[in-house]
Protein backbone atom coordinates (compact mmCIF):
# COMPACT_ATOMS: atom_id res chain seq x y z
CA UNK A 1 0.00 0.00 0.00
CA UNK A 2 2.74 2.45 1.06
CA UNK A 3 4.95 1.56 -1.91
CA UNK A 4 2.15 2.41 -4.35
CA UNK A 5 1.65 5.96 -2.91
CA UNK A 6 5.32 6.89 -2.72
CA UNK A 7 5.46 8.73 -6.10
CA UNK A 8 2.08 10.38 -5.81
CA UNK A 9 3.31 13.93 -5.14
CA UNK A 10 5.89 13.72 -7.88
CA UNK A 11 3.25 12.50 -10.38
CA UNK A 12 0.90 15.32 -9.36
CA UNK A 13 3.74 17.81 -9.72
CA UNK A 14 4.50 16.46 -13.19
CA UNK A 15 0.83 16.72 -14.11
CA UNK A 16 0.52 20.29 -12.80
CA UNK A 17 3.84 21.53 -14.19
CA UNK A 18 2.54 22.26 -17.73
CA UNK A 19 -0.30 24.31 -16.28
CA UNK A 20 2.10 26.37 -14.14
CA UNK A 21 4.52 26.80 -17.04
CA UNK A 22 1.62 27.86 -19.26
CA UNK A 23 0.56 30.37 -16.59
CA UNK A 24 3.98 31.96 -16.45
CA UNK A 25 4.48 32.00 -20.22
CA UNK A 26 1.04 33.60 -20.60
CA UNK A 27 1.84 36.22 -17.92
CA UNK A 28 5.10 37.13 -19.68
CA UNK A 29 3.40 37.19 -23.09
CA UNK A 30 0.47 39.33 -21.98
CA UNK A 31 2.83 41.75 -20.26
CA UNK A 32 4.70 41.99 -23.55
CA UNK A 33 1.42 42.70 -25.37
CA UNK A 34 0.56 45.56 -22.99
CA UNK A 35 4.03 47.09 -23.14
CA UNK A 36 4.12 46.83 -26.94
CA UNK A 37 0.65 48.42 -27.17
CA UNK A 38 1.77 51.31 -24.94
CA UNK A 39 4.97 51.81 -26.96
CA UNK A 40 3.04 51.83 -30.25
CA UNK A 41 0.51 54.30 -28.85
CA UNK A 42 3.30 56.60 -27.69
CA UNK A 43 5.08 56.30 -31.05
CA UNK A 44 1.92 57.17 -32.98
CA UNK A 45 1.32 60.11 -30.62
CA UNK A 46 4.91 61.23 -31.23
CA UNK A 47 4.30 61.05 -35.00
CA UNK A 48 1.11 63.05 -34.62
CA UNK A 49 2.97 65.65 -32.56
CA UNK A 50 5.45 66.01 -35.44
CA UNK A 51 2.52 66.57 -37.79
CA UNK A 52 0.70 69.09 -35.62
CA UNK A 53 3.56 71.11 -34.20
CA UNK A 54 6.41 70.78 -36.67
CA UNK A 55 4.40 70.38 -39.90
CA UNK A 56 6.49 67.39 -41.00
CA UNK A 57 5.51 65.66 -44.24
CA UNK A 58 4.50 61.98 -44.45
CA UNK A 59 8.01 60.65 -45.15
CA UNK A 60 9.60 62.64 -42.33
CA UNK A 61 6.97 61.45 -39.86
CA UNK A 62 7.62 57.81 -40.83
CA UNK A 63 11.36 58.29 -40.35
CA UNK A 64 10.74 59.98 -37.02
CA UNK A 65 8.55 57.10 -35.81
CA UNK A 66 11.15 54.51 -36.88
CA UNK A 67 13.84 56.49 -35.05
CA UNK A 68 11.61 56.70 -31.98
CA UNK A 69 11.07 52.94 -32.01
CA UNK A 70 14.78 52.12 -32.31
CA UNK A 71 15.05 52.86 -28.58
CA UNK A 72 12.63 49.97 -28.00
CA UNK A 73 14.49 47.54 -30.27
CA UNK A 74 14.54 44.80 -27.64
CA UNK A 75 10.73 44.62 -27.84
CA UNK A 76 9.85 45.86 -31.32
CA UNK A 77 12.60 44.63 -33.57
CA UNK A 78 11.31 44.70 -37.11
CA UNK A 79 9.18 47.80 -37.62
CA UNK A 80 9.23 49.00 -41.23
CA UNK A 81 7.84 51.93 -43.17
CA UNK A 82 5.11 49.62 -44.55
CA UNK A 83 3.81 49.15 -41.02
CA UNK A 84 3.11 52.86 -40.63
CA UNK A 85 0.03 54.46 -42.19
CA UNK A 86 -0.30 58.24 -42.24
CA UNK A 87 -3.40 60.05 -43.45
CA UNK A 88 -3.09 63.82 -43.66
CA UNK A 89 -6.37 65.62 -44.34
CA UNK A 90 -5.51 68.63 -46.47
CA UNK A 91 -8.99 69.92 -47.15
CA UNK A 92 -11.63 71.80 -45.19
CA UNK A 93 -13.62 68.61 -44.62
CA UNK A 94 -14.21 67.72 -41.01
CA UNK A 95 -11.99 64.69 -40.62
CA UNK A 96 -8.95 64.28 -38.41
CA UNK A 97 -5.51 63.35 -39.69
CA UNK A 98 -4.39 59.90 -38.54
CA UNK A 99 -1.20 58.01 -37.68
CA UNK A 100 -1.51 54.22 -37.37
CA UNK A 101 1.25 51.72 -36.61
CA UNK A 102 0.50 48.04 -37.16
CA UNK A 103 2.70 45.40 -35.60
CA UNK A 104 2.66 41.60 -35.60
CA UNK A 105 3.90 40.13 -32.32
CA UNK A 106 5.29 36.61 -32.44
CA UNK A 107 3.49 34.21 -30.12
CA UNK A 108 5.55 31.78 -27.95
CA UNK A 109 5.44 28.22 -29.29
CA UNK A 110 3.70 26.96 -26.17
CA UNK A 111 0.77 29.37 -26.63
CA UNK A 112 0.74 29.01 -30.42
CA UNK A 113 -0.21 25.34 -29.95
CA UNK A 114 -3.49 26.36 -28.31
CA UNK A 115 -6.26 26.03 -30.87
CA UNK A 116 -7.69 29.34 -32.02
CA UNK A 117 -4.95 31.45 -30.41
CA UNK A 118 -4.09 34.27 -32.85
CA UNK A 119 -0.63 33.81 -34.31
CA UNK A 120 0.90 36.31 -34.97
CA UNK A 121 -0.80 38.64 -32.51
CA UNK A 122 -1.81 41.94 -34.18
CA UNK A 123 -1.25 45.10 -32.13
CA UNK A 124 -2.09 48.60 -33.36
CA UNK A 125 -1.06 52.03 -32.16
CA UNK A 126 -3.37 54.80 -33.33
CA UNK A 127 -3.47 58.55 -32.91
CA UNK A 128 -5.72 61.08 -34.60
CA UNK A 129 -6.04 64.83 -34.41
CA UNK A 130 -7.22 67.79 -36.44
CA UNK A 131 -4.34 69.79 -37.86
CA UNK A 132 -4.06 73.12 -39.61
CA UNK A 133 -2.88 72.72 -43.18
CA UNK A 134 -3.86 75.90 -44.99
CA UNK A 135 -4.64 79.59 -44.65
CA UNK A 136 -8.31 79.24 -43.79
CA UNK A 137 -8.10 75.77 -42.25
Amino acid sequence: MKKQESGQSFTELILLMPIFVMFFVAIIFFTKIYITKIILEQASRHGMFMLTSHKYNEDDVKNEIINYLTTERFLISDIRRENIEIKIINTLEFKPSEVTIKYKLKVPKLLARIRGFPNPFHITGHSECYIRTGLLQ
Partner: protein, 279 residues
Protein backbone atom coordinates in the same frame (compact mmCIF):
# COMPACT_ATOMS: atom_id res chain seq x y z
CA UNK B 1 -3.46 -2.13 11.44
CA UNK B 2 -6.86 -0.46 11.46
CA UNK B 3 -5.31 2.72 12.94
CA UNK B 4 -2.59 2.73 10.25
CA UNK B 5 -5.20 2.33 7.50
CA UNK B 6 -7.22 5.20 8.89
CA UNK B 7 -4.15 7.44 9.01
CA UNK B 8 -3.33 6.75 5.36
CA UNK B 9 -6.97 7.33 4.38
CA UNK B 10 -6.90 10.72 6.08
CA UNK B 11 -3.76 11.80 4.23
CA UNK B 12 -5.30 10.94 0.90
CA UNK B 13 -6.11 13.98 -1.27
CA UNK B 14 -4.34 16.48 1.00
CA UNK B 15 -2.33 17.74 -1.96
CA UNK B 16 -5.55 18.77 -3.68
CA UNK B 17 -6.04 21.49 -1.03
CA UNK B 18 -2.66 23.00 -1.86
CA UNK B 19 -3.39 22.71 -5.56
CA UNK B 20 -6.71 24.52 -5.18
CA UNK B 21 -5.14 27.25 -3.04
CA UNK B 22 -2.22 27.74 -5.40
CA UNK B 23 -4.45 27.77 -8.52
CA UNK B 24 -6.76 30.26 -6.81
CA UNK B 25 -3.88 32.54 -5.81
CA UNK B 26 -2.37 32.27 -9.28
CA UNK B 27 -5.73 33.18 -10.80
CA UNK B 28 -6.02 36.19 -8.48
CA UNK B 29 -2.46 37.18 -9.40
CA UNK B 30 -3.37 36.81 -13.05
CA UNK B 31 -6.52 38.93 -12.67
CA UNK B 32 -4.64 41.59 -10.72
CA UNK B 33 -1.95 41.71 -13.39
CA UNK B 34 -4.52 42.15 -16.17
CA UNK B 35 -6.45 44.77 -14.17
CA UNK B 36 -3.38 46.84 -13.34
CA UNK B 37 -1.94 46.51 -16.86
CA UNK B 38 -5.29 47.58 -18.36
CA UNK B 39 -5.53 50.57 -16.04
CA UNK B 40 -1.95 51.68 -16.79
CA UNK B 41 -2.53 51.25 -20.54
CA UNK B 42 -5.85 53.15 -20.29
CA UNK B 43 -4.23 56.00 -18.36
CA UNK B 44 -1.48 56.39 -20.98
CA UNK B 45 -3.99 56.18 -23.84
CA UNK B 46 -6.25 58.67 -22.07
CA UNK B 47 -3.44 61.21 -21.80
CA UNK B 48 -2.88 60.89 -25.54
CA UNK B 49 -6.63 61.17 -26.11
CA UNK B 50 -6.87 64.29 -23.91
CA UNK B 51 -3.86 65.90 -25.66
CA UNK B 52 -5.29 65.21 -29.12
CA UNK B 53 -8.79 66.33 -28.08
CA UNK B 54 -7.48 69.62 -26.64
CA UNK B 55 -5.34 70.20 -29.74
CA UNK B 56 -8.31 69.40 -31.99
CA UNK B 57 -10.55 71.89 -30.18
CA UNK B 58 -7.85 74.57 -30.43
CA UNK B 59 -7.42 73.75 -34.13
CA UNK B 60 -11.15 74.14 -34.79
CA UNK B 61 -11.14 77.44 -32.90
CA UNK B 62 -8.11 78.55 -34.93
CA UNK B 63 -9.97 77.73 -38.15
CA UNK B 64 -12.93 79.76 -36.90
CA UNK B 65 -10.73 82.72 -36.00
CA UNK B 66 -9.09 82.64 -39.43
CA UNK B 67 -12.47 82.70 -41.16
CA UNK B 68 -13.88 85.44 -38.92
CA UNK B 69 -10.66 87.43 -39.52
CA UNK B 70 -11.06 87.17 -43.29
CA UNK B 71 -14.67 88.38 -43.05
CA UNK B 72 -13.53 91.20 -40.74
CA UNK B 73 -11.20 92.24 -43.54
CA UNK B 74 -14.20 92.38 -45.93
CA UNK B 75 -16.20 94.45 -43.44
CA UNK B 76 -13.25 96.80 -43.01
CA UNK B 77 -13.42 97.49 -46.74
CA UNK B 78 -17.15 98.18 -46.60
CA UNK B 79 -17.55 100.34 -43.50
CA UNK B 80 -15.82 103.30 -41.85
CA UNK B 81 -17.19 103.42 -38.36
CA UNK B 82 -15.15 106.30 -36.91
CA UNK B 83 -17.49 109.01 -35.76
CA UNK B 84 -16.89 112.52 -37.12
CA UNK B 85 -17.66 115.54 -34.89
CA UNK B 86 -18.44 118.92 -36.39
CA UNK B 87 -19.56 121.90 -34.27
CA UNK B 88 -20.44 119.59 -31.41
CA UNK B 89 -22.61 117.42 -33.61
CA UNK B 90 -21.43 113.84 -33.99
CA UNK B 91 -22.06 112.22 -37.34
CA UNK B 92 -22.31 108.46 -37.51
CA UNK B 93 -19.91 106.18 -39.38
CA UNK B 94 -20.40 105.76 -43.08
CA UNK B 95 -20.43 103.18 -45.83
CA UNK B 96 -20.24 103.97 -49.50
CA UNK B 97 -19.11 102.01 -52.52
CA UNK B 98 -19.34 103.77 -55.91
CA UNK B 99 -22.38 102.73 -57.98
CA UNK B 100 -23.61 100.29 -55.33
CA UNK B 101 -27.07 101.14 -53.95
CA UNK B 102 -27.20 101.86 -50.22
CA UNK B 103 -29.72 99.06 -49.65
CA UNK B 104 -27.45 96.53 -51.41
CA UNK B 105 -24.49 97.71 -49.36
CA UNK B 106 -26.53 97.37 -46.18
CA UNK B 107 -27.64 93.87 -47.23
CA UNK B 108 -24.05 92.76 -47.92
CA UNK B 109 -22.92 94.07 -44.52
CA UNK B 110 -25.75 92.17 -42.80
CA UNK B 111 -24.98 88.98 -44.79
CA UNK B 112 -21.27 89.19 -43.87
CA UNK B 113 -21.95 89.83 -40.20
CA UNK B 114 -24.51 86.98 -40.12
CA UNK B 115 -21.92 84.62 -41.60
CA UNK B 116 -19.42 85.77 -38.98
CA UNK B 117 -21.91 85.23 -36.16
CA UNK B 118 -22.60 81.72 -37.43
CA UNK B 119 -18.89 80.88 -37.46
CA UNK B 120 -18.33 82.34 -33.99
CA UNK B 121 -21.18 80.35 -32.46
CA UNK B 122 -20.34 77.01 -34.14
CA UNK B 123 -16.54 77.02 -34.26
CA UNK B 124 -16.39 78.56 -30.80
CA UNK B 125 -18.82 76.05 -29.28
CA UNK B 126 -20.54 72.89 -30.45
CA UNK B 127 -18.32 72.10 -33.40
CA UNK B 128 -15.12 72.29 -31.35
CA UNK B 129 -16.70 70.13 -28.65
CA UNK B 130 -17.97 67.50 -31.10
CA UNK B 131 -14.65 67.25 -32.95
CA UNK B 132 -12.74 66.96 -29.66
CA UNK B 133 -15.15 64.31 -28.35
CA UNK B 134 -14.89 62.28 -31.57
CA UNK B 135 -11.09 62.33 -31.47
CA UNK B 136 -11.01 61.38 -27.78
CA UNK B 137 -13.43 58.48 -28.29
CA UNK B 138 -11.41 57.18 -31.25
CA UNK B 139 -8.44 56.92 -28.90
CA UNK B 140 -10.09 54.98 -26.14
CA UNK B 141 -11.88 57.59 -24.01
CA UNK B 142 -15.54 57.22 -23.07
CA UNK B 143 -16.13 60.96 -23.23
CA UNK B 144 -14.81 64.43 -22.46
CA UNK B 145 -15.61 67.10 -19.90
CA UNK B 146 -15.06 70.78 -20.64
CA UNK B 147 -15.96 73.90 -18.70
CA UNK B 148 -18.72 76.02 -20.23
CA UNK B 149 -17.21 78.71 -22.42
CA UNK B 150 -13.83 77.01 -22.75
CA UNK B 151 -14.21 76.81 -26.55
CA UNK B 152 -15.26 80.47 -26.90
CA UNK B 153 -13.36 82.50 -29.49
CA UNK B 154 -13.33 85.42 -27.02
CA UNK B 155 -14.49 87.92 -29.60
CA UNK B 156 -17.03 90.69 -29.18
CA UNK B 157 -19.04 92.46 -31.84
CA UNK B 158 -18.89 96.21 -32.34
CA UNK B 159 -22.32 97.71 -32.97
CA UNK B 160 -22.51 101.12 -34.58
CA UNK B 161 -24.80 103.59 -36.26
CA UNK B 162 -23.84 103.73 -39.92
CA UNK B 163 -25.00 105.95 -42.80
CA UNK B 164 -25.22 103.95 -46.03
CA UNK B 165 -24.96 106.29 -49.05
CA UNK B 166 -26.15 105.97 -52.64
CA UNK B 167 -24.08 107.34 -55.49
CA UNK B 168 -24.88 110.54 -57.43
CA UNK B 169 -23.10 112.24 -60.29
CA UNK B 170 -22.64 116.01 -59.89
CA UNK B 171 -19.97 116.33 -62.51
CA UNK B 172 -17.09 115.35 -60.22
CA UNK B 173 -17.33 111.66 -60.90
CA UNK B 174 -19.19 109.25 -58.61
CA UNK B 175 -19.97 111.04 -55.32
CA UNK B 176 -21.80 109.84 -52.18
CA UNK B 177 -25.31 111.24 -51.91
CA UNK B 178 -25.04 112.73 -48.42
CA UNK B 179 -28.52 114.25 -48.42
CA UNK B 180 -30.61 111.12 -47.98
CA UNK B 181 -28.54 108.41 -46.29
CA UNK B 182 -29.90 105.06 -45.19
CA UNK B 183 -29.12 105.24 -41.46
CA UNK B 184 -29.02 101.92 -39.63
CA UNK B 185 -27.65 100.63 -36.39
CA UNK B 186 -25.71 97.58 -37.57
CA UNK B 187 -23.30 95.04 -36.18
CA UNK B 188 -19.83 95.65 -37.61
CA UNK B 189 -16.55 93.79 -37.06
CA UNK B 190 -15.40 91.68 -34.16
CA UNK B 191 -12.74 92.82 -31.71
CA UNK B 192 -10.81 90.95 -29.01
CA UNK B 193 -12.52 90.81 -25.60
CA UNK B 194 -9.20 91.24 -23.85
CA UNK B 195 -5.57 91.51 -24.89
CA UNK B 196 -4.68 87.94 -23.95
CA UNK B 197 -7.47 86.29 -25.91
CA UNK B 198 -8.03 83.74 -27.37
CA UNK B 199 -7.68 81.77 -24.15
CA UNK B 200 -6.69 78.13 -23.80
CA UNK B 201 -9.30 75.38 -23.80
CA UNK B 202 -9.00 72.78 -21.04
CA UNK B 203 -10.35 69.27 -21.65
CA UNK B 204 -10.69 66.27 -19.35
CA UNK B 205 -10.93 62.88 -21.07
CA UNK B 206 -12.33 60.05 -18.95
CA UNK B 207 -12.87 56.32 -19.10
CA UNK B 208 -15.18 54.17 -16.98
CA UNK B 209 -13.11 51.08 -16.20
CA UNK B 210 -15.76 49.58 -13.90
CA UNK B 211 -17.17 47.07 -16.38
CA UNK B 212 -13.78 45.79 -17.51
CA UNK B 213 -12.38 45.01 -14.06
CA UNK B 214 -11.87 41.30 -13.42
CA UNK B 215 -12.86 39.72 -10.12
CA UNK B 216 -14.49 42.70 -8.42
CA UNK B 217 -16.34 40.45 -5.97
CA UNK B 218 -13.27 38.32 -5.35
CA UNK B 219 -11.25 41.37 -4.35
CA UNK B 220 -14.18 42.89 -2.46
CA UNK B 221 -14.26 46.06 -4.60
CA UNK B 222 -17.69 47.49 -5.28
CA UNK B 223 -16.83 50.25 -7.73
CA UNK B 224 -13.72 51.19 -9.69
CA UNK B 225 -13.22 54.95 -9.99
CA UNK B 226 -13.15 56.37 -13.50
CA UNK B 227 -9.73 57.20 -14.93
CA UNK B 228 -9.20 60.73 -16.22
CA UNK B 229 -6.54 62.80 -17.94
CA UNK B 230 -6.39 66.53 -18.52
CA UNK B 231 -4.86 68.65 -21.28
CA UNK B 232 -4.98 72.22 -22.54
CA UNK B 233 -4.32 73.88 -25.88
CA UNK B 234 -4.86 77.30 -27.43
CA UNK B 235 -4.98 78.94 -30.81
CA UNK B 236 -2.01 81.23 -31.40
CA UNK B 237 -0.72 83.47 -34.14
CA UNK B 238 2.99 84.25 -34.14
CA UNK B 239 2.39 87.39 -36.22
CA UNK B 240 0.09 88.93 -33.64
CA UNK B 241 -3.63 89.23 -33.16
CA UNK B 242 -5.77 89.29 -36.28
CA UNK B 243 -8.37 91.51 -34.63
CA UNK B 244 -8.50 95.04 -33.20
CA UNK B 245 -8.99 95.61 -29.48
CA UNK B 246 -11.76 97.62 -27.88
CA UNK B 247 -9.46 100.56 -27.22
CA UNK B 248 -8.43 100.90 -30.86
CA UNK B 249 -10.04 103.55 -32.97
CA UNK B 250 -11.45 100.82 -35.17
CA UNK B 251 -11.12 102.45 -38.53
CA UNK B 252 -12.08 100.15 -41.37
CA UNK B 253 -8.59 100.50 -42.81
CA UNK B 254 -7.07 99.65 -39.43
CA UNK B 255 -9.17 96.49 -39.23
CA UNK B 256 -7.90 95.52 -42.68
CA UNK B 257 -4.33 96.25 -41.56
CA UNK B 258 -4.70 93.98 -38.50
CA UNK B 259 -5.77 91.14 -40.77
CA UNK B 260 -3.00 91.68 -43.30
CA UNK B 261 -0.20 91.71 -40.70
CA UNK B 262 -1.47 88.45 -39.19
CA UNK B 263 -2.88 86.86 -42.35
CA UNK B 264 -0.61 83.81 -41.98
CA UNK B 265 -3.32 82.70 -39.63
CA UNK B 266 -3.89 81.09 -36.25
CA UNK B 267 -2.51 77.66 -35.46
CA UNK B 268 -3.02 75.43 -32.41
CA UNK B 269 -0.49 74.46 -29.71
CA UNK B 270 -0.56 72.46 -26.50
CA UNK B 271 0.02 74.52 -23.34
CA UNK B 272 0.39 73.67 -19.64
CA UNK B 273 -2.93 73.16 -17.91
CA UNK B 274 -2.05 75.60 -15.15
CA UNK B 275 -1.30 75.72 -11.49
CA UNK B 276 -4.83 75.07 -10.22
CA UNK B 277 -5.29 71.70 -11.92
CA UNK B 278 -2.25 69.54 -12.38
CA UNK B 279 -1.84 66.55 -14.68
Amino acid sequence: MIKKKLRYRNEKGQIIVFVVISVLSLSMLWMMLINIATMVKDRIMLQNAADCAAHTAACIRARGLNMVGALNFTLGGLIESRKVSFLGIEAPGFAWIPELPASALYASVIATTDAQAGIVSTYGGGLAYLAAEKVAKAQGADGIIAEPGTFSLNLKRKIDKINFYDTIDIGLGPTPNIFCPLTKRVPTWYYLKDKKSPKKNVIIAYKNSNSRFFGKRLFGISEIPRIAAIAAARPFNKHGAMFPTKDDENLGLMVMGYYLTAADGYDAELVPVGSLIQH
